[in-house]
Amino acid sequence: MRFLRTLVSPRGAVFLLLVILLAAITILNPNFADPGQLMRFIQRVAPIAIVAIGQYFVIVAGEFDLSQGSLITAQVIIAGNLVGQDDSRTIPVLLLMLVFGAAIGLVNGLITTLLKVPSFIVTLGMMLALLGAVMWWTGGAATGNPADSFRQIGRGGIRDLPLIDFLPWSVLILAAWLAIGIWITKRPLGKVLIAVGDNARAVRYAGARDWWVLTRAFMISSLSATIAGVLLVGYAGVHPSVGRGYEFIAITAVVLGGVVLGGGRGWIVAAVAGAFVLEALFLLLNIAGVPSSLRDAVQGVIIIAAVAYSGVAFRARRRPRAAPHASPDSGKEPDDPAGESARPSASPALVGGVTPAGPATTTARPDQIRGD
């Protein structure tokens, strides 16, 4: 009963939407319910879901990572060029790619935190520079698809299983990465990230080294993009257009999952569900025969509607319990708009509504005493 109630609540909105979409797909195409088909669907969504996990950590901390798509393209091309047809190079190149991904995340994080450049700008610059550098290095086209052992990661799996017949590696990797992600959210790092998104200044005063915390979020995001790149090498092959636009898909998926741009709250599983919702939506539009030119329009309407619903319903639930609002114009909720507008970090101390200012100056808010 509680489960059902959560499903229709704003927190569960994305899951409800996912259930509706999957049901609609199955009605229109009963083949879809076949376990093999389902596994292939998850295999297809896996790279997007993994990228969404990385983007979740960055957005919940109140930042953006626009460089994920270019990083995927770069990693895919690196894999194609360095592995070649030599099977023995698979493991070393994999390690190199992971190190490269972490390094890009490190650079993103350091420039954002130490040079204080807005993350939107840092990752935008990184997106342009990374893609340009890789295209210049390879002359615009990759050498070719790498050896099969590398590609098996994204393409292959465990075959001849009793019920599902085929379990792709991608699904296992997605499950593992999601488990790691959930574990991180339960650790101090995860909680501090949410706190940074909510009120970065308070976190700094509480003593956390927010530059290292944020940098690690960017590194998680870049590692997610790297893993997605590895899977895409197998699934799609090596081509300069693989990975284009993934950062916008990831941001959309994360926001659909109820994570607020500007940070401060959100559940990682909901972000992954958002990725599934997007792919299910594409699949439904495809199966329903909606003309390809209209698909973008439908996608846009659904995104706006879904985000509006979850945002508005969330605010309705969060009406402050203490303040008695007998006033008729309670249309304007007194609680914080800071979560709703695109403001990374530094929300003022008026979080949670107006609290009555008491006479005791020693309990006054910290930023008023210390100045800035």
Binding site: K116, P118, L124, L128, L130, A133, T252, P337, S341
Partner: protein, 376 residues
Amino acid sequence: MKRLRIDSTVIVLAILVLVIAIGAILVATVGRSFFSPGNIRDILTGMSVLGLVAIGQTLVILGASLDLSVTYVMSLASLIAATTMNGNPANIPWAVTLTLLVCAGIGLANGLIVTVLKVNGFIATLGVGLILQGVLNTSFQGSAGSVPWAFQLIGATGIGPVPISTLIMIGLAVVVWWLLGRTRTGAHLFAVGGDPEVARLSGVRTKPPLIVAHVLCSVFAGLAGLLLASRLGVGSPTVGQQGGYALLSIAAVVLGGTLLLGGRGSIWGTIGGVAIFAVVDNVMSVMQVNPFLKDVVRGVVIVAAVAVYSRRAIVRRRARFGPGGTRTGGDAAAAAAAPDMVAAAVALEAGAKDTGANDTGATDAAATDAGGEVRS
């Protein structure tokens, strides 16, 4: 005491001068002159379209929102204009009016979704952009319409090396600067962008300024689309996407010193940011830099230029307490009085011990209060 206030607009203009200087040297090494009329015209032409979009984007970002739909608005505007004009100069006024009305409508939709439905500007305009893309794909199959010669003149002619389109852009920038600095809507926009909660508590209506900002942003994107239609002679459903105007305009605005958080910024900084992009692009083209390397340079320039002034205190407010603060020398008096205060507190304590323990809590609080205040 008065110090020279170096704010971000001045820094942007300084960066622009530096870039021009470096560019002129580099261009001279390949035997061209940076300041020749053809080169100046190339730079100013490159500024016009992006400049119009960036002016609109500045308004929206000041309101702490974003507009990612500008690319599609530009394409749609070019198509509506070209198909309505259809080669007939008599249709020009109606075509321009219709185009700007449609763009204003799109901006209104953006503004309503952001303010009433309270969807984040990023997502709202991303969604509207997708809807517009669907409309473009459905309704148009490649270039359409035809722009009469009278209208093409706007994109083609100039006064000396300065194109008419640049003059129009500068003129509109002045209008917007006046709007931001001298009207109530402008002031309210700054307030809403800086802190909507404080603005609302101060009695400012938070919805109208932001809606006006979104409407103006889409109208400016429409103007940019009209300019492109004038230059191309036709309307094209991909002309907006070809230039990547959404992200580039945001980058130019931030480069110009406007905060993504909203509430602070200047139009002239944005124009400076657009000029920096145009100069860098022009120098790279003259030097025939590999197009892939051009993207690398663009990315690095964006980050580096913003980094130059991001490290400074982003919000320069005067210190309120402590040295240099608004206290009129009260610190010195408090510090001088400290020993007497401590002595008085000790005496009170001694007296309290004799008469009873009732006031101990209060005197302790008073002692720590005084001590705390002096130390901060």
